[in-house]
Each structure stands twice: as C-alpha cells, then as structure tokens.
C-alpha cells in the first residue's frame, strides 16, 4: 500500500553488547563518563583486592611520605597510605552519592508526581512545604540535619537527601502539570484506566529524562556536599576514609609540604563528578525515544 513507508529501524535488540556498542559510538563522551563511573564502582567493590594496605593503619615513620613504589600516592600526616585511602574512599563517596540521590529522588518523585497530578489543596500545601525547604541552601540544610542527627554514614546520607527532595519534586511536578493535559492521557482515561495507573504508566516515564539529568547532576553535588560536611567535622566520621575530609584536612595544613595530599583526593572528587555528569547527559538522550533515530 502506498501509505506505508519504510521506517528506518532503530538499534536492534540483537544483544546487549551490540546495543551498548551502538550507543558508545554515538555518544563518545557518555561512554567516557560511563567508563569513569565504572572504574569508581569497580574500585569500591574490589577495594580489598586492589590494595592490601589497611586504609586506617597509621605508621609514624612514613608521615607525609612522597609518592614511591611502596606508597604510590604517598602517605598522610598519620602515615596512612593514600592510595589505599582513595580506593576505600570510593566506597564512601559511592554510598553517599547513590544513597542520598536515590533517597531524594524516591521521595521527590512521589511528592512531585502526586502533587502535580492530583492538584488541589494537597498540591497547594505540599508546594508551600517545598518552598520552605528550598529557602535554605543545600549545604546549610544538610549541616542542620547532620548536626541534629549526629555524624554517621547513614545520617550523612539522610541529611544530604532531604534538601534534594524539593528540587526533584519541583521538576517532576512541573513536568506532570504539562503532561496531564496531553491528549494521550485523555486517551488512557477514555479506555478506562484508573488515575494511579495513568500517573505511573504514562506520566512517570515521560518525566524520566529530566529526572536522570537532575539525578546525575545531583550525584556530583552530593559528593561535594559530603566533602564539605566532612570538612566541618559533621560528615562521615573518622576513621572512614572520606575524600572530602582527606582533601580539606590536608589543604589546611600540608598543601605546601605535601601537595600530593591535596591533588589526589581532589582529582578523585573532580573525576567522579565529571564522569557522572557526562554519563547523565548521554543517558538523557538515550532514554528519550525521540532522540534515538
């Protein structure tokens, strides 16, 4: 029939590897980001195999040691091996980044979706609460939270996730407001779908692209906030190796005598943030079917 045109096929579902290759070629920067992120994830998972040195073991004889074959990234004031501390620090950063972003996104999406989709008084009240939460900057809010909850890894994650909720909720809500007026939502209603299924099947997937971009951008900033909190003594407590605390402690005192103590944790933080941002940008494009052809 003349009405049928041939349609260029998108990536075929031959195998996951082929799909991955297809996208890697299209988004080289995204692939680089994914590689960086993968390195940090692998570092976190296989930390005990990558380095046999205990990251908390002190040794006064190698205090502020210059990088050498034995200690490839040198040692800090207490004589703790930097390489080992950076490898184990990936666990902390990853836990804080993924944990707080995930927690913040979970609550933010739930609040944003319900408030945007159902509207009314519920929306009005929820949005005023979000306004109040947003009037405090991320760091100040997190500071207040950790000060109240006390320093521990779990509390740091919770404290960092709470200020993320209003940011995510707003983005999701504004998207939901736009989407719920779309004719395809009305089509779902005409079919007899219930409102909750419509919100979950038609509205939520269409808010995914901005959510992924936001989440990956926030992933980087949560790592930074954790670093700042640790610097102020409220983040992940000693003896856990936190990149942020490593950086801040050394920056204050040893930047002149042992600059490697600043450079390596700083590089780790920057690289992790940079990698997740690149990955996020590519994911946004890949997850949007309109960008696929």
């Amino acid at each position: 029939m003349a009405a049928i045109e041939t349609i260029e096929a998108g990536p075929r579902r031959e195998s996951r590897l082929a799909t991955f290759r297809f996208y890697a070629r299209r988004y080289p920067l995204g692939a680089a980001g994914a590689a960086i992120a993968a390195i940090f994830v692998l570092m976190a998972i296989f930390a005990p195999w990558i380095t046999q040195v205990d990251p908390t073991a002190t040794n006064p004889r190698i205090s502020l040691a210059f990088p050498s074959s034995e200690h490839p990234l040198g040692a800090d004031f207490l004589g703790r091996d930097m390489w080992s501390r950076i490898v184990y620090g990936a666990r902390i950063s990853l836990a804080v980044g993924l944990g707080s972003t995930g927690l913040g996104a979970l609550f933010g999406v739930t609040i944003g979706l319900t408030s945007g989709y159902f509207g009314g008084w519920y929306d009005l009240i929820v949005q005023r609460v979000m306004d109040m939460m947003q009037s405090l900057p991320l760091l100040v809010m997190a500071l207040v939270m950790t000060a109240a909850l006390g320093p521990s890894l779990e509390n740091t994650i919770i404290a960092i996730s709470i200020p993320l909720i209003p940011t995510v909720a707003r983005v999701i809500r504004s998207n939901t407001l736009m989407l719920r007026e779309m004719p395809f939502i009305e089509a779902a209603r005409a079919v007899g779908m219930n409102e909750l299924s419509i919100a979950l099947r038609h509205v939520l997937p269409n808010t995914l692209a901005p959510l992924i971009v936001l989440a990956t951008a926030q992933l980087g900033s949560t790592i930074l906030v954790e670093a700042a909190l640790s610097f102020l003594g409220l983040g992940v407590p000693e003896p856990h190796p936190s990149w942020g605390r490593m950086l801040s402690e050394s920056a204050a005192e040893y930047v002149r005598v042992a600059p490697w103590l600043v450079i390596f944790p700083g590089a780790a933080i920057s690289l992790a943030v940079f990698g997740t941002n690149l990955l996020g940008d590519a994911l946004r494009d890949i997850l949007d079917p309109r960008q696929r052809d």
């Binding site: 009405a3 209603r189 007899g192």
Partner: protein, 324 residues
C-alpha cells in the same frame, strides 16, 4: 428493535457549564456555557457529523458523551443504557463500547510507548486475552488500518502524521466498540492524507458496522463521510437533517452562511454570498433569546427575547429558528 434501527447513542438536553474560578478562594465568578442543551441520536452504522465554528462546543459534546468531562445536566445513553450518572467502576465496561480518535496525531500518542503497546493498552486494561493473544490481535488491527505488523515495536516519532493517525484509529478499534467519536480526526493532516484517513474511517465503518459521531469544522470533509449533520452554534444545535438536504436546502440562516463560505473549485459558479457581521459572542455571556440573533440577517424582535426550540420544519429536518 431491529439491529439496523437500534439507537447506539442518545443524548438528551446535554449541558456542560464550566465554572470560572476567580481569586484566592477560587470563588465561582461565572460559567462558560460550552454546551447548552444539546439533544441528538445516532442509529447503528450511521455517521452523524457535528459541525460548527471553533469554540461552539462541539468538542465538549464529544468529551462529555465519553464522560471525559462530567455533564452539568442531561442524559447520555449508550446502546440504551443511561451512563450519565455511573461511577468510574460502573462506567468501565461501557468504555469498551465507545472510543475516541483525537485531532492531533502527535500529542495523542505516548512518546515513550511503542505503537504496539499503545494499540494493545486498551486490551491490557480490560484484561482481554494473555500477552501473546493480545500481540496477535494488535498485529491484526495493524493490518486492518493499513499499518505493517512488523512496525509494532517502532515508536510514534518514527511514523509520519498519517501513519500516527492510523495508530490512533487502531487504538480506538482495539476493544471493538460500537461508537467511535472522531474529534476532528483529519484536520491536523495534509489534504492528501486526509482523503486516505477518511476512506479508512469509512471502510472500517462498513467492515465493523461502526457508528460515528464525527466532529469537524470542515464541511467538505463532513460531506464525504456523514449520513446526518447537526450544525452547532454557541452551545446549541441550530439545524439537524440528512446530508443531502443540508447541502441543498438548508433552513437555518447560520447553516446558509456556513455553506456560502465553502470554497467551490469552479470559478464560473456564482453563489449568493452571505458574510456574517461581527464575531461569535462569548459563551460566558451568550445573548438572550436566539444565540444567533446578534449576527442574523433575518432577526426580528422575537428572536431577542425568545429562545427558538428545535422543531421539525420539513420531514426529517429540524431547525431552531423563529422565521422558518
């Protein structure tokens, strides 16, 4: 009642008034009288076209019939059952009997679902068959609307406008409804594609014995597909008759002016020109009496005070006008 004469849709004195909310406390400051007492009925296998200018309430009639917006007053019967006051759960089985085709083939399809998922969704929602049976049924519907079955996994953006409208039609057909409401189903398409879609719509009517409420502002399109035509002006039906009578012997002054505005391809034909003065009055404050009296060339005193009822002036031709 014999199948051919069965009334699939009956609407009696349907009203939809949208409240206008104002201020912080959302007080109701007035109403938009979008639909203000519309009655119509369609027999099985027939197409009733609802025509009128934009803003006359024709789309609202379609949406209210489907209970996508709640009627303010009136009665809607589908295959004899009054669905006006059914709650959502009670309404669900009746949703299988009535579906809608939308105007915009772009925003009416979820960009994140494949064409197959979109067409299969009504089946899934109503629990028709298992996943494999639904897939087979979707492939079958695809063929019937002129799409290739191997395109079920493609996403809407990979189709052209005409093909997307076919997907919308396929979705409407999935549950084998009796009644399909077409809300300007071709007005967003290119003229060449319009003809294809209209022919498809008519072929499907013959094949499945479908009943259509066809909403349009385009009289040329309406002439092609409909059996009966109802002309709407500012929330009310002003004339109702069969297609042939409407185009050859219209009675309402508004219908006359609409027909005079239809372009004729032959330049040697001279027609009576009726150019209406002024704009359509606001549906927030419709004029008293006959809604059309402010623009009617034949209006007299009675028109300004008394609202003309739709009455049978000639057999099968209903007109709401005091001077006819």
């Amino acid at each position: 009642m014999p199948e051919a004469n069965r009334l699939v849709l009956e609407v009696k004195d349907l009203k939809k008034h949208f409240p206008i909310k104002k201020g912080l406390l959302r007080r109701t400051a007035g109403y938009v009288y979008a639909v203000d007492g519309v009655s119509l009925s369609i027999r099985a296998g027939q197409t009733l076209a609802l025509v009128g200018e934009s803003g006359c309430g024709k789309s609202t009639v379609g949406r209210t019939v489907l209970r996508l917006t709640e009627p303010t007053a009136g009665e809607i019967r589908i295959n004899g059952t009054d669905i006006t006051h059914l709650n959502k759960a009670e309404l669900r089985p009746y949703r299988r009997q009535m579906q809608i085709i939308f105007q915009d083939p772009f925003s009416s399809l979820d960009p994140r679902m494949s064409a197959g998922e979109i067409v299969g969704e009504p089946l899934r929602v109503h629990g028709v068959g298992n996943a494999r049976e639904r897939r087979a049924r979707v492939a079958d519907i695809f063929k019937r609307v002129g799409l290739r079955a191997e395109h079920v996994d493609n996403y809407p953006h990979q189709f052209s406008g005409g093909q997307r409208q076919r997907i919308g039609i396929a979705r409407a057909l999935a549950l084998e409804p009796n009644l399909i409401i077409g809300d300007e189903p071709v007005s967003a398409l290119d003229v060449s594609i319009q003809a294809q879609i209209l022919n498809l719509v008519m072929d499907l009517q013959d094949e499945f014995g479908l009943t259509y409420l066809f909403i349009s502002h385009n009289l040329a399109v309406v002439e092609h597909v409909s059996h009966h035509i109802a002309v709407m002006y500012l929330g009310r039906i002003v004339e109702y008759t069969d297609k042939r009578t409407l185009f050859t012997a219209p009675l309402h002054p508004y219908t006359e002016s609409l027909l005079a505005a239809v372009p004729v391809p032959d330049p040697s034909i001279r027609r009576k020109k009726i150019v209406l003065q002024g704009d359509v009055p606001s549906p927030v404050k419709p004029p008293p009496g006959c809604h059309f009296h402010t623009r009617c060339p034949y209006a007299f005193d009675r028109c300004k005070v008394e609202d003309p009822k739709l009455r049978e002036v000639r057999p099968g031709q209903l007109v709401a006008c005091h001077s006819r």
